[in-house]
Amino acid sequence: MTREALRAEPEATNADVLSAALERRYSAGFVTDIETDSLPPGLDEDVIRAISARKGEPAWMTDWRLAAYRHWLTMTPPNWAKLDIAPIDFQSISYYAAPRQGPKSLAEVDPKLLETYEKLGVPLHERARLAGVAVDAVFDSVSVGTTFRKELAEAGVIFGSMSEAIREHPELVRQYLGSVVPAGDNYFAALNSAVFSDGSFVFIPRGVRCPMELSTYFRINALNTGQFERTLIIAEDDSQVSYLEGCTAPMRDENQLHAAVVELVALARASIKYSTVQNWYPGDENGVGGIYNFVTKRGDCRGDDSKISWTQVETGSAITWKYPSCVLRGDRSSGEFHSVALTHHRQQADTGTKMIHIGRDTKSKIISKGISAGRGQNSYRGLVKVERSAAGARNYTQCDSLLIGKRCGAHTFPYIEVKNPTAIVEHEASTSKISDDQLFYCRSRGISEEDAVSMIVDGFCRQVFRELPMEFAVEAKKLLEVSLEGAVG
C-alpha cells in the first residue's frame, strides 16, 4: 500500500496503517530470469584458479588470491560484534556467477537486465546522461555496461570494472590493491581477496577534478551467489572525486553473503567522497532471508592535506556489519563519517567507523544516526585513535539513537584511545524515543502520526542527508520513509 493510498482513506486507524504497512512487500524484490554461468557451490584452490582463469587474469593475480585463500584457511570467523549470525556454510556458496553473454556495449545488454535497472530507477543509458551520472553497473559479479567512458577518458580518469583494470592497468592495480586493506586484514577481507569477482576501479590522475559524479549500482541476482566485489579508488595529488554506490537485491529466502572490500587512496591534497545507499533485501518481518552485508571499507589519507569522506545510508540487509574507516596518515589530512542506519523488523546492524590519527593536525568528524524499530538491533561501534605522532589532532563524534517501539535495541560502543596530549577528542551520544511532545505538537497541527514520525526522523537524519549528492538524498529520504512504514503504532 502506498502512502497516497493511505491518505485517501482518512478513516484508516493506526491499527490499519500498521497492519497494512507490515504486509508491505519489498518493493525491489523481483528476480530477473536470465541464464547465468556459475561455478558449482564450494571453495577450494581449484575454484579460485577457475575464477582467475575465467577472468583471464595474470599469474601474479592468481597467486595473490591463492595466498589470501591460504591465509583465510588459518583464520576463524570473528564473533565480537553484537550480532546474532546463523553459521555460514562457505562451501554451499557459489563463488562466481556471470551473465552468459558478454555484452560489448549498452545496446547489447540483455533487455531484461536493463528492465531490472529500470525498475530500480538506475539512471543508465539516456537517463544516465540526463542525471549527469556515469554508471558502471555490476550485475551479480561482472560489470556489464559503462557509460560516459569517453568523457572521463578525456579528463584522464580511469573508471571501469576491476577485471578490466587488472588487464589494462596491471601496474596500478598491483601497486595499490591490498595496500589499504591487506589480504589478511580480517576474515571476510581475506575471503574477498581470494574470490573477488569484480568491482569498480577508479583512478583520478594528478590535478584532475573528476568531471562528474561516478556511480555504481550493485545488485545481487542469482540464488545463492555470494557477491564479493572489490573496489579500488585512487586519487592522485590535487585530484577530486565523488563516488556513489547504491545497492539493492531481489527477494530471496536464503541468506546471501556479501563480503566486499573497498579501498580508497588519497594522495597529497586529494579529496575522495564516497557515498552509499544500501537497500539490500532485509529479510521478512520474521527475520527469514535477507543479505549478510559484511564489508571492509577503508580509506587511506596517504598524502598531506588529503581528505576522505564516507557517507552511508543503511536501510537494507538482514545484518549489516561494517566500519568505513580513515587512516589519517598525511599531515593536516581529514576524515569524515556520516551515517544513517535503520533497522526494522529483525534487522541487525553493527556499524560505525575508525578514525586513526597518525599525522599532525589531522581532523576527523563522526556523525552517526541510528534508528531502531520493530525488533531491530542497531549498534554504533567506533574507534577514535590518536597516535603519539598526531600532535594537534582533533575529533568530534556525535552518535544519536532513536527508538521506535518497545522491542528494538540501540547500542553505542565507542572506543577512544588517545596518546597525544595536544589532541582534543569529544564524544557525545544520546538515546531516546520520539518525544511525545513533538508528536502531539504535529498532530495538533493536523499532521498524521505517520507523517509526523517521518518528519521527525527526517529532521533527525538531516545532518547526514545533506552530505549526500542530491539525487541520492532524495532516494535516501524515500527509502527511510518506506522502511519505517508500520513502525508506529
Binding site: 539513537s401 565507542p414 584511545e417 596518546k419 597525544n420 595536544t422 564524544h427 557525545e428 538515546t431 531516546s432
Partner: protein, 440 residues
C-alpha cells in the same frame, strides 16, 4: 595453563584449600574446587579478550607468587596513620589479606550493625554465605578470589537501622619476605530502609609488589541508602584487582565516590544491578595515573526495572607514562521503561607519553528511556592558564590549580565534609607528583 603464575596458584591452592576457613563444608569445598579448575583451565585473560583489551597481564603471568602471608599479624603498621577525618565509626583492617584485630575496632557496635571477620563466619556458619560463595564467578580474578579468599568482611545492617558513623574498611599491603598474592572478600547487606556509609581504603605499609584481589558483594533491600567512598592509595608497586558488585532493590540508593591514586596496575570493576523500581546508582570518581601506573575503572550499570536512574561522572588525569582507562557501560533492559541514565567522562592528558582510553557504552532495549553519555580527552585551557599566570601564579601552580578544579567536581556531592576535604587534599597532593614520578 603452564605459565609461572598459574602453576604457583595450582600448587598453593592444593596446600591451602584444606586449611581455608570453611574447609570441610561439602558445598563450599566443591565450589572452591570448581572455581579453581575453571581458573586453571582458562588461566588469566588474554589480550584478545575484549574486557581485558587495555589491561596487560603478561608481566603478572611470569610471576610465581606465594599465597597469603603467614606473618601478617606481625607486620608493622602505623595505626595512627589510618585515621581519616570524618570517619570515626567501627574499623576493620586487613594486612596482606589477613584480619588484624589489634588495628580494628569492632566491639561496641551501634544497634542494628553486625560487623565481623568473614573467616569466623565461614568457620561457624558457612551456610549463611552460600549465596555468595556458591555463585558463579565472572572472570579469572573472581575465580581466584572465590577459590582462595578465606577472610574479609561481613557487614549487615538490620531493617530500618540508620548507622550514623561511617564504617571504615582498610586493606593494606605490607612488605613480606617475598611478593605474595592475597585475596579478600567483603559481604555487605543492608536491610530495608537501612542507612549506612562505608569508607574503603587501600594503602601500603612499605614498598612491595603484591597482587591483591578484593571482591565486594553489596546488597541493598528496598529503600536502603548506602554511601560508598573509596580512597585507593596502594603502594606504587602493587597490583590490585577489585570488583564491587552492587545489587539494589526498589527505591534503594547508592552513592559512590572513588579516588584512584595509587598502585602499579589497578583495576576496579563496579557492577550495579538496579533490580527494583526507582533504584538509583550514582557514581563519581577520579583516576589519576602518573609514573608508569595503569589505573582502570570499569562500570557496568544495568537498569532492570522501571524508573531506575543512574548518573556517573568521572574525571581522568594522566601524566608521566601513566595510562588511565574508563569503561562505562550502561544497559537498559527490556521493560525498564522510565529509566534515566547518564555518564560523563572528561579526561586531561598532561604528558606526551601518557594515554587515556575511554569507552562509554550504551545498550538500550527499552524505548521510554533517556540515556546519554559523553567523553572528552583534551588538555588544560591555555587561556585559563594564561589568566592565572597574568595574576602572578607560577606555571606549575596554575596547572595544579586548574587540574584539581577539573577533578574537584567529582567530589562535590560527598556529604561527609571533613572526608570530602581530606580526599580533595589527598588529590591535590597527588596531582603535582604525577609527572615527577616518571624519573622514579
Amino acid at each position: 595453563m603452564s605459565n609461572a603464575f598459574a602453576v604457583a596458584v595450582g600448587e598453593a591452592a592444593a596446600a591451602t584449600l584444606p586449611r581455608l576457613p570453611g574447609a570441610g563444608v561439602a558445598w563450599l569445598d566443591a565450589a572452591r574446587r570448581a572455581h579453581l579448575a575453571a581458573f586453571l583451565r582458562d588461566g588469566l585473560p588474554a589480550a584478545r579478550n575484549e574486557a581485558w583489551k587495555y589491561t596487560s597481564l603478561r608481566a603478572l603471568e611470569q610471576r610465581a607468587l606465594a599465597l597469603g602471608d603467614a606473618d601478617a599479624a606481625a607486620r608493622a603498621v602505623d595505626a595512627q596513620a589510618l585515621a581519616l577525618p570524618g570517619v570515626n565509626g567501627p574499623r576493620m583492617v586487613f594486612v596482606n589479606g589477613a584480619f588484624r584485630a589489634d588495628l580494628s575496632y569492632i566491639d561496641d557496635l551501634p544497634e542494628g550493625l553486625e560487623l565481623q571477620p568473614l573467616a569466623s563466619v565461614l568457620a561457624r556458619d558457612a551456610e549463611s554465605l552460600r549465596g555468595v560463595f556458591g555463585a558463579t564467578a565472572t572472570d579469572a580474578f573472581d575465580r581466584l578470589n572465590a577459590t582462595l579468599a578465606g577472610d574479609g568482611v561481613l557487614l549487615r545492617v538490620a531493617t530500618g537501622a540508620r548507622i550514623a558513623a561511617p564504617v571504615h574498611l582498610v586493606y593494606l599491603g605490607a612488605p613480606a619476605v617475598a611478593d605474595l598474592a592475597w585475596h579478600a572478600r567483603a559481604v555487605i547487606e543492608l536491610g530495608a530502609d537501612a542507612e549506612l556509609a562505608v569508607v574503603e581504603q587501600h594503602g601500603g605499609a612499605g614498598p612491595h609488589a603484591h597482587l591483591g584481589t578484593l571482591v565486594s558483594d553489596i546488597r541493598l533491600q528496598h529503600g536502603a541508602h548506602l554511601q560508598w567512598n573509596v580512597l585507593q592509595e596502594a603502594d606504587t608497586g602493587a597490583t590490585l584487582i577489585r570488583r564491587s558488585a552492587f545489587r539494589l532493590a526498589a527505591d534503594a540508593v547508592v552513592t559512590l565516590h572513588a579516588l584512584e591514586l595509587g598502585g602499579a596496575l589497578v583495576r576496579h570493576a563496579i557492577t550495579a544491578a538496579l533490580e527494583g523500581d526507582r533504584a538509583c546508582f550514582v557514581s563519581r570518581g577520579v583516576f589519576a595515573p602518573g609514573g608508569r601506573q595503569h589505573l582502570e575503572t570499569r562500570l557496568d550499570i544495568r537498569h532492570r526495572r522501571r524508573d531506575t536512574a543512574s548518573d556517573a561522572l568521572w574525571r581522568g588525569v594522566a601524566d608521566g607514562r601513566g595510562r588511565g582507562v574508563l569503561h562505562g557501560a550502561i544497559t537498559i533492559e527490556a521493560g525498564a521503561d522510565g529509566a534515566a541514565a547518564q555518564l560523563g567522562n572528561k579526561n586531561l592528558l598532561l604528558s606526551a607519553h601518557a594515554e587515556i582510553d575511554t569507552q562509554p557504552v550504551l545498550e538500550i532495549h527499552a524505548d521510554e528511556v533517556k540515556a546519554s553519555h559523553g567523553a572528552t580527552v583534551g588538555q588544560l585551557d591555555e587561556r585559563a592558564l594564561f589568566y592565572l599566570r597574568s595574576r602572578g601564579l607560577p606555571l606549575e601552580q596554575a596547572r595544579a590549580l586548574l587540574t584539581s578544579a577539573f577533578c574537584r567536581v567529582a567530589l562535590d556531592g560527598l556529604d561527609n565534609a571533613p572526608l570530602r576535604e581530606h580526599l580533595a587534599a589527598r588529590l591535590a597532593q597527588h596531582l603535582p607528583r604525577l609527572a615527577g614520578d616518571v624519573e622514579a
